[in-house]
């Protein structure tokens, strides 16, 4: 039973645009065990959301999986048809969307939108059982059950996000992908919601992938953290390793940009430049134009994403800035 719930191998996803091929996800590999929480962190446009959409195969028309495997519960879903994917979606993997504001259809009652998912995945349930299930879900996420007959616009931002979480939990998935689940909320609501999500996860034994640009959010909820840069995984390890012993210079810069309020004073490391244009990514290591430690080898060859200590991987020629 050590088989991972989700195993992504060498996943490469491209968008075909008028200006050419955009490599949004490049050679990404990671795995997720049952009940584990993985955080994906990175700047806007680094491919975090693209990874999420690829795993559910919800890509827009111009996006396609170029290479790699997505193994869910032992089966590779890359060759799956739309029809086969429908069972995987929500049944095995559900998702909490970035903009919960807009993830609910404004013209239907919130409860009915959850029932819609139940009708699809648990057709044997009667209407009464479905109502009962929605009531339970609402209670679980801390919403009054009477609210299920309300419309999304009658909810506050936090309530809507809770409703979206209830919807994600509805069909008992093995895993939930939460894409910036709390970005639109204020810090207080964000904090309580994150704590609650962590509780459901432990309670229901689900695996989670949290996606955020906010290192603080990721630190709070993740067991393991993957740092993404320009469509690639730069580093991956336990939360402890990533925050206290980063290997990749990008991770080092990212961590120092979120200074601790309790630790000793340190200087902020400023990262010059901008994330690269993915239509025309830099050769070699995609971080080299902004890396303070870059050498010739960084410009020419892509570093291997390899293990530096058990479970702690990074793709860098100069781990921790060492010059070899």
């Amino acid at each position: 039973m050590t088989e991972p719930l989700l195993q992504v191998e060498n996943l490469t996803m491209h968008y075909t645009t008028r200006a050419g091929e955009l490599s949004a996800v490049d050679n990404v590999s990671f795995s997720l065990k049952k009940g584990e929480a993985l955080g994906l962190v990175g700047e806007s446009g680094c491919g975090k959301t693209s990874v999420a959409l690829t795993v559910l195969k919800l890509l827009p028309e111009n996006g396609y999986i170029k290479e790699g495997k997505i193994i869910v519960n032992g089966k590779d879903i890359v060759p799956y048809t739309e029809q086969e994917m429908r069972k995987v979606r929500w049944g095995e993997i559900s998702m909490v969307f970035q903009a919960a504001m807009n993830a609910l259809n404004p013209v239907y009652r919130v409860g009915d939108q959850i029932i819609e998912a139940l009708e699809e995945h648990q057709p044997q349930m009667t209407n009464k059982e479905m109502k009962q299930k929605v009531t339970e879900l609402f209670e679980l996420v801390g919403l009054e059950s009477a609210l299920m007959d309300r419309f999304p616009h009658e909810f506050s931002g936090g309530m809507r996000q809770r409703a979206v979480i209830a919807m994600a939990l509805s069909c008992g998935p093995d895993m939930i992908i939460a894409d910036e689940p709390t970005t639109a909320l204020d810090v207080i609501v964000q904090d309580s919601l994150l704590k609650e999500m962590r509780e459901f996860q432990d309670q229901l034994g689900m695996a989670m992938i949290y996606i955020s640009h906010d290192v603080g959010v990721i630190a709070e909820v993740s067991d393991r953290v993957g740092v993404m840069y320009a469509g690639r995984l730069a580093e991956m390890g336990t939360a402890e390793e990533i925050f206290h012993d980063p290997i990749h210079p990008y991770t080092m810069a990212l961590m120092s940009s979120f200074p601790s309020t309790v630790g000793e004073k340190t200087d902020l490391v400023l990262l010059p430049g901008e994330p690269p244009d993915l239509l025309n990514p830099p050769t070699g290591c995609r971080f080299h134009p902004r890396c303070p430690y870059a050498t010739d080898v960084c410009k020419e060859e892509q570093p291997e994403f390899k293990e530096h200590s058990p479970g702690h991987l990074a793709a860098c020629w100069h781990p921790r800035g060492e010059q070899s």
Partner: protein, 383 residues
């Protein structure tokens, strides 16, 4: 909602009053009056002519006639139609308005139904020959000169192929010895349609309470029961043949009008749906694993429907405006043709009556659009 309705009704009353005044003065400003037919008699002496004018009330200044007309209007009296002497105007309207409403309502419903379906499919499967063909075809029909197209339709389908009657409301020879009047059958037809639609609506709403797998059979059974009920009613009264005659006469005008106008709703639906397809809730629906058809119909098209409904209600009022032309081409004895005949005969009370009808309809349509909108979009709350 109630407060809003009151406010809206008050607005409608004011608008209606302004509309009445406007049509009265506009019609009054036209040269000639309904006395012309009589004055032109060369044997009348100037005194007799004057007397006639006084009898008709035409020697009074405009504003006196205006107050008179307005006060009798408020008492429900629109005067007597000269071209249908001695029938009161209101009587003529009561007879012909249902024909106009039925013709244009059915044509608009058919046009919007197909326009909406076509637009939905075009937005869903973009690109390709079908999109070009239907867009070009639809827009060509939309811009074609209506009377010409209607005549071509009559020529092809009624005259050459003989599938449909050439114009008119009924086939008079078939009605010899009919147990009742044309209008009676027609009113019964309208009521059948009305009751059937109310039942259908109730059915569709109540079916939603059932479990998923019971919905489809329940819908079919319910629809079959409604259809059977209507059938039994018409067989029982023995008027079915006559009703069919009216329906047969209705078909070609409806097809023609629908062909001319469906492109409007088709393109509107297509654009509106291309926007809703980009919404996050459509992506979320897809992530929920629900079927493509349900995503298309329940999420994308349902929300794309909102602007289409508004345009539907307004175009209904517009279509009836255009009735003057269509009804004349199809010899359809409705309000449009009545307006034309009355205008030619300088039958001013009838002209005013016909215009009052159009105005009432347009104002009602706007009110219905507002209410329908609130029903379709829960975000809209009128206060």
């Amino acid at each position: 909602m109630r407060g809003y309705l009151f406010k809206r009704l008050a607005q409608i009353v004011i608008t209606f009053f302004l509309f009445l005044s406007a049509i009265f003065f506009l019609v009054d400003a036209q040269p000639g009056d309904y006395g012309n037919v009589f004055y032109s008699n060369p044997r009348l002496t100037p005194e007799q002519r004057q007397q006639l004018k006084a009898n008709l009330g035409l020697d009074q200044p405009t504003w006196v006639r205006y107050t008179k007309w307005m006060s009798s209007f408020l008492q429900g009296d629109l005067g007597i139609s000269f071209s249908n002497y001695p029938r009161p105007v209101i009587d003529v309207i009561a007879e012909r308005a249902p024909r106009t409403i039925v013709l244009f309502m059915s044509a608009t419903v058919v046009s919007f139904y197909f326009g909406f379906m076509a637009g939905k499919l075009l937005a869903w499967n973009r690109g390709g020959l079908v999109e070009y063909a239907s867009t070009i075809g639809g827009v060509s029909l939309y811009t074609v000169f209506t009377p010409w197209f209607a005549l071509i339709m009559i020529w092809v389908f009624a005259f050459r192929l003989g599938w449909f009657p050439i114009g008119k409301f009924i086939e008079p020879t078939a009605w010899i010895g009919a147990p009742t009047e044309v209008n009676d059958v027609f009113i019964r037809l309208i009521f059948t349609a009305l009751i059937a639609s109310v039942l259908l609506f109730t059915l569709l709403v109540s079916v939603g309470r059932l479990n998923t797998n019971q919905r489809r059979p329940a819908t079919w059974i319910g629809m079959a029961v409604i259809a059977a009920g209507a059938l039994i009613y018409w067989l029982n009264t023995g008027l079915g043949v006559y009703a069919l005659d009216i329906l047969w006469h209705l078909t070609l005008p409806i097809i023609t009008l629908a062909l001319i106008s469906f492109a409007g709703s088709m393109l509107l639906t297509r654009n509106s749906m291309l926007e809703t397809l980009r919404e996050d809730y459509v992506l979320a629906a897809r992530a929920k694993g629900i079927s493509e058809k349900a995503i298309r119909d329940r999420h994308a098209a349902r929300n794309a429907m909102l602007p289409v409904v508004t345009s539907f209600v307004f175009s209904l009022a517009f279509a009836i405006d255009g009735g003057v032309i269509t009804e004349t081409v199809f010899s359809w004895p409705g309000m449009g043709r009545t307006l034309l005949t009355a205008a030619n005969a300088e039958d001013i009370p009838m002209v005013l009556g016909a215009l009052v009808f159009t105005g009432t309809l347009a104002l009602t349509a706007h009110l219905v659009a507002d209410i329908l909108y609130a029903y379709l979009d829960p975000r809209i709350r009128y206060a």
